[in-house]
Amino acid sequence: MPADRARAAYRRLLGLYPRSFRERFADSMEQTFDDLRRERSARGSGMLRLVVWMFAETSLGVARENLAALSRARPAHHHRYALIGLLLFLPIAILVPAIWLDLAVVRDLLTHEGDRPNLLGWTVIVGGLLLLPLAFVLALLPMLRRGPNRRRRLYALNLLVCVVIAIPIGTALYGIGEEIYRCEVRGLPNCD
């Protein structure tokens, strides 16, 4: 990767840090990136290994700082967590009624001629299901965090979103559990 492109890509990666961290350290981190590249270049060593290591190490830092920022966020932002949880729940929230109502537009878009799901269909189903636990945890998080008085608070909006998301999670777990019981425990033939 040419040096300028590596630097531009690194700057974009630094853009993923939380804003407060970025404003404080992004310029210094870019300088450090340049320093390490210059050092490596002066030694006549290969650049690829350094760049891969820098990107991997900084990506971990991005994840750590975003998690830290999330856990430091004030409870006053609880409605944002509820909203993000709701947005992550949206694919399944739209998909389930669409399948139930057998909407032609959804059937054409997500299946092979109304039969098995196509690639987009699987992506929406699997992606949507994987996002459910994350959505649930995000909506729940502000209620788990202790306030300045060391006490937890109940937020009606977050509670409502948690309950709404818990319904498809519970249904999916019940469906999987029920099938395992019929097929694996009771050993019924042609059970799936």
Partner: protein, 122 residues
């Protein structure tokens, strides 16, 4: 300000310990700290920018270090470089950690563990 309490009484992480050790001798910028840690630890504490600046953020918030007034001559280096200096709290935390290490070494000496060499040492 939020995480002042957790950093000081607990044993320091290797990164924080080495950064304090590096800054106890001189005011340094990020890359300078990285190189000093590399020398002090004989490359046993790998520290990339993600670890370094994440640790610096926590240490600044905890008051263990501060941004220094020091700036370099623009003819020599980038004048925008930020130098870091150890604070009194940082020196105290470093001294506490070193005393803890000292106690452990003493304990190991009493139990004649220092004579034992790790299996991979040959």
């Amino acid at each position: 300000m939020t995480d002042i309490v957790p950093l000081v009484p607990k044993p320091l992480t290797p990164a924080v310990f080495h950064i304090l050790l590096a800054l106890s001798r001189d005011e340094l910028h990020g890359y300078g700290i990285m190189k000093q840690v590399e020398r002090d630890s004989q490359r046993h504490v790998p520290m990339g920018p993600g670890t370094l600046y994440g640790s610096l953020r926590r240490m600044l918030d905890a008051g263990l270090i501060r941004e220094s007034e020091k700036r370099v001559d623009p003819a020599i280096d980038d004048e925008r470089r930020i130098y870091y200096a150890i604070s009194a709290e940082g020196r105290s935390a470093l001294a506490t950690e070193l005393a803890r290490y000292e106690q452990l070494v003493e304990l190991a000496r009493e139990n004649q563990l220092l004579a034992m060499r790790p299996a991979h040492a040959g």
